[in-house]
C-alpha cells in the first residue's frame, strides 16, 4: 500500500507538468491538430446542447467579424459521447446563408469548411447537432494562406 501511495506521490509532479501543456482539453487538442499545419488559430467556439424538445432553427449562435482577403477555416469537431454530429451554418448581416457544413441533398457532413472571404462584415455563425440531438463539440476558427 505504502509503495503505491509513494508511487502516486512521485507521479504528481509529472501530471503537474502535463497540465502545463496547452491546451488541456483533449477534444480541443484533437481539433487544433485537425485544422492542419498551415492553419493559424484565431478562435475556438465550444458548443454543448441537450436534446431539443421540438424542431427549431439552429440553437447556438455566435457573431464574428470576418474580413475580406482572408481565408478562414472552420474545423468542426464532435465529442465522442455526442448523440448527434455538430453542424454549422454561416449567415451574413442580411440573414443570407453563406455556407453550411452539411449538404442537405446528400447528407454529407464536412469536417472543415474554408471560406474565401471577399466581403468584410459581421457574420452570424449558427451551430446545432444533427436532428437536434444532444451533444458537445468544438469549432476552431483559423486563418490559412
Amino acid at each position: 500500500m505504502k509503495k503505491y501511495l509513494l508511487g502516486f506521490l512521485l507521479l504528481l509532479p509529472v501530471t503537474d507538468l502535463l497540465s502545463g501543456q496547452a491546451p488541456n482539453d483533449p477534444l480541443m487538442s484533437k481539433c487544433l491538430l485537425s485544422a492542419g499545419s498551415t492553419a493559424k488559430y484565431l478562435k475556438d467556439l465550444r458548443i454543448q446542447l441537450g436534446q431539443a424538445a421540438s424542431e427549431s432553427e439552429f440553437r447556438y449562435k455566435e457573431n464574428m467579424s470576418l474580413w475580406k482577403n482572408t481565408i478562414y477555416r472552420f474545423t468542426i469537431c464532435t465529442a465522442d459521447d455526442s448523440k448527434g454530429q455538430l453542424i454549422m451554418n454561416i449567415m451574413d448581416e442580411t440573414n443570407k446563408i453563406i455556407l453550411s457544413s452539411i449538404d442537405k441533398n446528400t447528407g454529407t457532413i464536412y469536417p472543415f469548411v474554408d471560406l474565401v472571404c471577399n466581403k468584410s462584415g459581421i457574420y452570424q455563425i449558427y451551430f446545432d447537432f444533427t436532428e437536434q440531438q444532444a451533444g458537445s463539440g468544438v469549432t476552431i476558427v483559423s486563418m490559412i494562406q
Partner: protein, 302 residues
C-alpha cells in the same frame, strides 16, 4: 503506523493540490475594489461582450501582412512600454491590450524567442490588475522558447486574453476590458498604418478603410466612461478624432451567390459578393496620421 503514513500522504496531496489551484480559481480572488464599478454598468458590460465577440484579432492584420510578403519589423512594437512602470489601472489595461497586439504580431511571424521580454511585461501588467491567474506564463514561455507548436502558443495567448476580458466584465470592471480592446485595436491599426507607407497594397488600404465598421463600436464601449476621469476623457476625444477622419469613407457592397467545391474531404466556399472601400488618398493619409498621433500619445512617445 500504517494509518499515520496514509494520513501523512493524504495531507501532502491535499497541500499540493490546494497550492496548485490557488492561482487558477478566479472565484477565490479578492479585488481591491479600486477599479470595480457597481452593477448599474451591466448594460455596458453586455455591449463590451457583444463587441468583443465581433472584434477581430490583431493577428488578422499580421496574417494579411504575411500574405502580402511584408517582412517583420520590430520598429512597430511598443518597445518603450516593456520596462515601464504603470501606475493607474487605466494604463495597465490599455497597455495590456497594446502589448497583446505586439505579442500576436511576434507570434504570427514566429519571432517567439524574442517575445520573452514582452511576455514578462504582460505578466507584470496582468498581475497589477489582479488577473495574472489567467495567464499560464510558464507554458507560454516554454512554447515561445521551443519555437514549436505555434498553434498551441496562439491558443494559449489568445485564450488568456479572452479569459481576462470575460473575468473583468463579469466583475464590474468592464471599463478595463474596454481599454484592453481599444489598446489592441489601436496597436494593430498602427501596424497597418506603418506598413501601408511602404507597401501601398489595395488589400491593406481596404482593411484600413473597413475599420470604419469597428471605430463606432469602439466609441460605444468607451463612451459610458468618458466622464469618469481625465484619462478616459482624453481617450474619448482621441477616438472622436479618429472617427471624424472616417466620416466620408464609404463601404459599398456587390451582390453574388457563393460558389462551393469539395477539397481534401472538406468544403471550400468562395464568396462572389464583395465589399469595396471608397477612400481618397487624402482621407487615407489623414487616417494614417491620426492613428500614429493617437497611438504615440497613448504610449507617451514624442
Amino acid at each position: 503506523m500504517r494509518a499515520k503514513t496514509i494520513s501523512l500522504v493524504l495531507f501532502i496531496i491535499f497541500l499540493i493540490f490546494s497550492c496548485r489551484n490557488a492561482s487558477r480559481k478566479s472565484g477565490e480572488f479578492v479585488l481591491t475594489n479600486a477599479d470595480s464599478l457597481n452593477n448599474s454598468n451591466n448594460s455596458a458590460a453586455e455591449a463590451v461582450e457583444e463587441i468583443y465577440r465581433n472584434f477581430s484579432s490583431p493577428m488578422e492584420i499580421a496574417n494579411l501582412f504575411q500574405a502580402l510578403g511584408v517582412p517583420f519589423s520590430s520598429d512597430f512594437l511598443a518597445l518603450s512600454l516593456y520596462a515601464k512602470e504603470q501606475t493607474t489601472s487605466f494604463e495597465k489595461a490599455l497597455y495590456l491590450g497594446i502589448l497583446g497586439a505586439d505579442l500576436g504580431y511576434l507570434n504570427m511571424y514566429e519571432k517567439t524567442g524574442t517575445s520573452i521580454e514582452l511576455v514578462s511585461s504582460i505578466k507584470k501588467l496582468a498581475e497589477g490588475l489582479k488577473v495574472g491567474q489567467f495567464f499560464d506564463f510558464e507554458a507560454i514561455k516554454r512554447l515561445s522558447l521551443s519555437r514549436s507548436n505555434l498553434d498551441s502558443l496562439l491558443f494559449l495567448s489568445l485564450n488568456s486574453y479572452r479569459q481576462i476580458n470575460k473575468y473583468l466584465r463579469e466583475n464590474n470592471r468592464s471599463q478595463l476590458s474596454s481599454l484592453m480592446i481599444v489598446g489592441a485595436w489601436i496597436e494593430a491599426q498602427f501596424f497597418a498604418a506603418q506598413v501601408i507607407k511602404e507597401y501601398p497594397e489595395n488589400s491593406l488600404r481596404d482593411r484600413i478603410g473597413e475599420q470604419k465598421i469597428v471605430v463606432n463600436d469602439l466609441i460605444k464601449i468607451i463612451s459610458p466612461y468618458c466622464k469618469m476621469d481625465e484619462q478616459f476623457r482624453e481617450l474619448c476625444g482621441y477616438f472622436r478624432d479618429i472617427s471624424a477622419k472616417y466620416e466620408n469613407v464609404k463601404i459599398t457592397y456587390t451582390q453574388g451567390t457563393p460558389e462551393s467545391t469539395e477539397k481534401d474531404g472538406g468544403l471550400v466556399v468562395t464568396q462572389t459578393e464583395s465589399s469595396m472601400v471608397e477612400m481618397t488618398d487624402e482621407q487615407l493619409a489623414a487616417i494614417i496620421d491620426i492613428t500614429g498621433k493617437v497611438r504615440n500619445k497613448l504610449i507617451k512617445v514624442n
